[in-house]
Structure formats: C-alpha cells, structure tokens
Amino acid sequence: MRVRLEPRLTDPTLAAYALRAAVGGGLALALSAGLLALSDHPPASVLDALVRGAFGSWPAVQSTLSKAVPIGLCAVGIALASRANLINIGAEGQFFFGAFAATGIGLCLPEDTAHPLAVALVLGAGLLGGAAWAALAAIPRAVLGMSEILTTLMLNYICLLWINYLVRGPWADPLTFSFPYSPPILDAGQLGPVFGAIQGGFPVLLAAVALLAVVDSGTRWGYELRVAGDAPEAARYSGINAAWIVISGLCASGALAGLAGAIEISATTGRLQTGLSPGYGFMGVLVAWLAGGRPLPILLVSILYAGLLNGGFSLQIAHIPGAISTVLQATILICILGAGSLARYRIRIVRSTTA
C-alpha cells in the first residue's frame, strides 16, 4: 500500500476552496494550540484574548476594519500586478513614497483650501507617488528585463531611509522635540471616519476590490495583463505591447500601495512618521497569496489579518508576548498555502499489484 498524489484535471470549485481554507485554518489552530501549550500559555485563554481583541466588541471591529484598509489596498495592487506575472514585493516602499507625496502636498496647500479638494489632492498625490516609485522598478524591467522581484524589494529600503531622513532632518516638526514626526498636514486634507469610528479609507478599499473584479472580467487592459502573464509569446503574437503591460501593471500596483500610504496620512496620523506602517506592504503580499489573488477573498483575508494584528496588540496588554500573534500569522499562512497546493491533487491509496 502506498499513497499517491495525482494532479486533478478539473479546476477546483468554490466549495473546494472553502474546504481547503477550513482545513488549513483548523490545522493552523491545532498547531498554534500545541505551540502555546509548549510555551506554557493556556491555549484556550490566549486564543480567547486574541479573538476578543480582534472582533470581540464594536470598537475592536472598527479598529480591525480600519487596519484592513492599508493591508487590503496593498494586496489588491499586488494581485493586479500578479495578473501579468509581475511579482511586486515593493508595496511597503510604494506605500511610504505615496505617504511622502501626500504629506508634501498636505504641507504646501494653503490652510483655506476646500475640504473635498484638499482630500482629493492629498490622495491623488499618494496615487502618483506610489506609481512613480513603482516606475523605478517597472522601467528597467520593461527595457532591460531586470527582475522586478529584486528591484521592488531593494527599493523598499531606499524609500524607508528617505522617510527616516525627512522626518529627522528637513521635515522634522520642531514642536514634537525628538519624535521622528513631520508637522501635521492641513486640517482640510484630513479624511474623517465613516460609520462611527471606521477609518474613512474603508469605502476606498471596497471600491478597489470592486475595481479589481471589473478589470478582471470586463476590460481590455485586464485581459492583456492576463495574456502577457500567461504566455509572453502569445502576447507578442496577438499584438500586445509587452513594455506597456509591464509599466502600466506595476505602476497601477504601486499607485494602490501609494494610495494606502496617503490614506494613512490623511485619515490616521495626519503627519508623516517612520512608524506609519508596521509592515502593511509585506502583509499585503501574504494576503494576496492567501486569497489566491481573487477580489472578494482579498477583502476577507485582509480583515482577518488586521484582526490578528489587533489581537496581537491586546495580547501584549494582557502580558502575553505579542510575538505569539506573529507566530500564529506564520502558522496560518503555511497551513492554508499547504492545503491550497493539496487541493490541486487527488489523494489516492494504491494497493500494490505485484511484489
């Protein structure tokens, strides 16, 4: 007797996806419980505190949905680029460059600018900033074929150092003494909350998710992204401009990350600071992968991820190391990705026919 994995010949159905998420999640839960028990924390109470911190009350839910905005926007961008087989690891850098551009506009505008105009200019600057930072990787990729995986990754570090320099040097706010903050942007450029205390960017996230679905199913550009990603030769055969696809795909991806940065400036902190993101751009990569790049799952998984982030904070308040939350994130990722790979195979048990 032996166990064989045979590739499935049919595409997995929606039920199969749900099943694999459930199996992966269950496995992740069991593994995490084991790890917690090993580290002398009662699994039940830790998980209870985690879930409570994430979704246990209306304020907790509001806070989770707010944190889902930057994660989700970065993930939508990353998923968009992945249509064209472009791997954007640079959402973090694009996020910060968008935040930088938004802050720049927000500091320059006269105080009496109309509120809607100011918000639009701040967010628009974020879009352009993110796209510009992504273009630094997109153009070498389109012209010279340089791997966008490496360039987008390395550009993250450059951008983080640039922000660090700004908030400690030329843009340091004299009123916050030694804190690495810029001065606040104009009041009119600040995006207020919606539905109580949910961050004002949440409708933008919903719109971005819907936009991804529309690009996928109803636009020529989305179609060309998919063809170029699947078969570059076929793209050339059908007259698709490969350079344009690389540049437009990566820049649109960066624009969404930049928008996430601008929203954080406009709706959360009101000023540029180094601690603006606890790694939203990198979480976006994980979320996009876990969701298989599909629009609705991206929304759900980014909310789940934001919940883990929030739950982690509440663990720290309860004197349980916040690292536990990071361990859980990694466990969930590995389990669901593993279950996802298995979903493409059929498990067969074979009785040996001969000696």
């Binding site: 595409d11 109803g218 020529r220 030769e233 055969y237 007259g239 040996s352 026919t353």
Partner: protein, 503 residues
C-alpha cells in the same frame, strides 16, 4: 468486432505475447478515455496504434508507461502482471516511449544524455560509451556522433538518439509517438529501416501515426481505437489505405473539396529578397522572393529545417527579417491578415487561460470590442469561433484540456473570423487525425476559392498536390522550384527537395 476473442497469434514462431493490456479503463471526470481496452504485442512485430485525436491512444500508452494509474485492468509483460502507475516499474519491465517532445538535455553531448539515463546511480560519468551501449549501436545500426552536443543535432539525429537512449535503458517494447511528423520522406525511410532492425531481434515497436502510407509500409498488425475502445485488431497485410481510413473514422465519410480553380486575383502578399538569420548566425532564409495572388493556395514544402518554418514566421511577424521586404494586404493587428503559427499552445494560444479568452486573442483590439470587453459580446464571439469548426466545449474551461485537433480548430476558427484576404498557415494539419485534417484543408480551399490568398507550409506532399494551386520547394533556405501543381509531380518535387542534400 473481434476485440473480445483471444486470437492465437504467431509471429516469428513465438506464441506468448511480450506484453498484454487487459480491460484497461481510465476516466478523467466524466470523460471515459479508455473503456475496457485490451490488446497484445507479440515479440518481433510492429503494431500500428491508430485512431483519431482523442480516441484514447495516448491514454493507453501513458498507462503502459506508468504515467497514469488506470481505474481498472491489468498489464502483463512476459505473461506476468506489471505494477501499474509507476514509471520506474514500466522501465524496469522493458517498456520505453519516445515522446513527440524529446526528453533530451540540449547542452549535453549525445553520450552524456544516454549516460544520464543508464548510469543514473554512478557518481562519475564515463567519458565514452560503455561496451553495452556500443554493442547496441552496432547491433541496431545507429549512425550517431556520440560526442556532439544535442543542440547541434538535427531533429532526425535527436530522434535516433532518443531511441538509442530508451533502448539502452533496456526497452524491449518501444513506443514511437508520431515519429515521422518532424522528418522528411528520406529521413522517414531511414527511421523505418531502424525500426525493422530493432524488431529483428525480438523487440517490439508500437507505432502511433496518422500517415496511412507509412503504416502500410512498416506495420505488421493494426490496433484501431475509436471513442476510447479498441474497435479493430488484426493483420495489416493486404489492407488498402482507404480500408484503414474507414476503420479509423468509422462510418463518417471524409472527402476533400476540389482544388480552387486558379483565377488569379490581385496580389495580396509580395516577398522580396527576404533574408532571415537563424540562431546559429547562418541565414535560414536566403534571398527569397515570390508573390501570392488572391484565389491562389500556395504550398511551401521541403525537407525539415530548410527554412520553410522561418520563412512563414517572418511573414507572420514572429521573427524579424534581416533584409528584404514583405508587403501584405492588411495588417495582423487590423483585419485581413490571418497567421496560424506552427506551435499552438504558448504562441497562438495562452495555455493557462479559458477557451473564451483564447477565442479573443488578437481579435480583442478589433471592432466590436473596445477598452471595455462586454461579456455578452465576448461570449457571442467565442460561440462563433467554436462553431466555425464545431468545437463542443464549455467556453469557461481551460484551453489546455482540449485535444490537439480541437486546439487547431479554435486557432483556425479565430483567425478565419472576419474573412481575411491573406492566410498564412504554418503546418496547419500537423498531427491531426484524418477527419480534422480534411476539415481544415477544406476550409483553406474554400477561403482560396472565395478570393483569399493562402500560403501554407506542409510536410505532406500528397496533401499539397491535392489542394495547392502552386508549389514552392525550399532547399538550403532558397526557393529551388516554383511551379503550378498541374505542371509538376511528386517525383519532380522530391528531386528538388533533396537536390541540395545530395550535392
């Protein structure tokens, strides 16, 4: 028919089959690819396995090779059951397959490739062929420079090497999957001589082919499959091509439309002093000039590797010419110019996308579509493409699940939508079964008769003589013969094809 009766077979005095499939059944989802398939192979015989695309030949062979685990049935080698679903077990019991895509490492030499397959357990490779390999080469009569790297070998040499590699692994049942589709007539002759010497010592060959003349030439027995079942098993002796074709397609009749009557219209394609540089830096197309008028169906023929494929790729815009001029009526991006490349998946079709997405490829910038792709219009367009040659499949399913014949039907259907004035088709019937090939030939004839200019490359001379109005023979990258079909013959074409080779 007689599939259910065990017929006593006697070849070269042996009565026990070398290999026997018994009741092999394999389904993929709802599709039953093999339904109770049974046949046997005697030592020393060449069995032709025949059937249309999708008849279940590949599935049966993949079961034999251990790539598929059947749902039911057994395989016996030397009258002992073989472990199923394990490629290693199949190789150990002496089953070897030469696939259409060779499994050779281009950067290694011929010997290193053989060594990789035979001495896998050794840490150090031997520099020269072992005694066993040399004995095998002498016995079967391989003519190969074993120190030559594979990337410098011709397709025929690579095929010989692949056969040697499989035999060196101890194969006694050699499966050849459409071996002559990449060979010239002369090279095919050499291959058949090799096949005869391989079976002379009690090995057997299973030959998958669509070319009936070859089958009559080399096969001693026929196994015909249709719809996943074996519908005929019997001797090949004394059967005409028509009879064999009838067994393969069943009751459906296959007929060719008449060749378009040559009433030359306006010039639709002008090629002047075209030069294409190949990957080795030498010119693969050398100073070629010709014209194709509306109403003409021009066939480009030649021994494989004499520039035909490169010429068509250059005209289709897949390969930039290094000198010369191509003037075509219409552009590829606009309407009017259809190009069907030799390779479907990956060039004419995006393998990971759906049938619907592929039906749109290249057409997506044309009139009914805009920057918005409306779902209803896309669906309607896909329906038209599928209906052109009758491909029945869910538009949302992945294109790579279609058989080779259906892939070609989708490509042609898509390229012929909008009635192009100029059609350039690279090997449009390669690897297709009789019915599918006839359907595609008829479509090309019909387009030419309606006034379009058609240029096609083909490796089947009989096909070209039957449908083309004019024939161009290429040799050494040049056009060595340009003549109306009515004024030439198979003999003359063959002479010009091989003229440069002989000198």
């Amino acid at each position: 028919m007689n599939a259910g009766f065990p017929i006593p077979l006697q070849v070269n005095g042996a009565t026990a089959p070398l290999c026997r499939l018994q009741g092999v059944t394999k389904s993929f989802g709802k599709l039953v690819a093999n339904d109770d398939v049974s046949f046997s192979v005697m030592p020393g015989e060449v069995v032709a396995l025949l059937g249309e695309n999708g008849a279940g030949k590949s599935t049966a062979m993949n079961v034999l090779c251990g790539l598929y685990l059947p749902d039911a049935g057994t395989v016996e080698v030397d009258e002992r059951p073989m472990a199923l679903g394990s490629p290693a077990a199949s190789v150990a019991r002496g089953i070897g397959m030469v696939h259409q895509q060779f499994k050779l490492v281009p950067s290694l030499t011929a010997y290193e490739n053989v060594s990789l397959a035979v001495d896998r357990g050794r840490v150090w490779q031997r520099r020269r062929p072992s005694d066993e390999v040399r004995r095998l080469m002498a016995e079967v009569g391989f003519d190969l420079d074993m120190g030559k790297p594979v990337w410098r070998m011709s397709l025929a040499e690579r095929q010989q090497l692949e056969i040697l590699r499989v035999l060196a692994q101890g194969a006694r049942i050699l499966i050849l999957d459409e071996p002559t589709s990449v060979l010239s007539p002369l090279e095919s002759e050499r291959l058949f001589m090799l096949v005869r010497r391989i079976v002379a010592r009690g090995r057997s060959v299973i030959l998958i082919s669509h070319k009936l003349s070859e089958i009559r030439q080399v096969a001693s027995r026929l196994v015909v499959m249709r719809g996943g079942r074996v519908v005929f098993e019997g001797s090949a002796a004394g059967r005409s091509s028509e009879e064999i074709a009838g067994l393969i397609v069943g009751t459906r009749s296959v007929s060719l439309a008449a060749r378009p009557a040559s009433a030359p219209g306006p010039e639709r394609l002008v090629v002047e002093n075209l030069r294409v540089t190949g990957h080795s830096g030498r010119d693969s197309v050398h100073d070629v000039s010709f014209k194709v008028r509306g109403g003409e169906l021009v066939a480009v023929v030649g021994v494989a590797g004499n520039g035909q494929a490169e010429l068509l790729d250059a005209i289709g815009g897949q390969k930039p010419p290094s000198a010369g001029r191509i003037v075509a009526s219409g552009s590829r991006k606009g309407r009017g110019f259809a190009f069907i490349p030799a390779q479907h998946l990956g060039v004419a079709l995006a393998p990971g996308l759906s049938i619907e997405d592929n039906a749109l490829l290249g057409v997506h910038r044309r009139k009914p579509f805009s920057v918005w792709l409306r779902r209803r219009e896309v669906r309607r367009h896909c329906g038209r493409v599928q209906d052109t040659f009758g491909v029945v499949a869910d538009p949302d399913s992945a294109i790579r699940r279609l058989s080779g014949g259906n892939l070609q039907r989708i490509v042609l259907g898509r390229e012929l939508v909008g009635d192009p004035d100029l059609i350039v088709a690279s090997y449009p019937t390669r690897g297709l079964d009789i019915a599918a090939a006839a359907q595609i030939r008829n479509a090309l004839i019909a387009r030419a008769a309606a006034g379009a200019a058609v240029l096609m490359a083909s490796e089947e001379l009989e096909e070209c003589l039957a449908i083309a109005t004019r024939i161009l023979v290429m040799s050494g990258g040049r056009i060595v013969l340009d003549r109306a079909t009515a004024q030439t013959s198979l003999n003359e074409i063959g002479r010009f094809m091989t003229a440069a080779e002989a000198s």
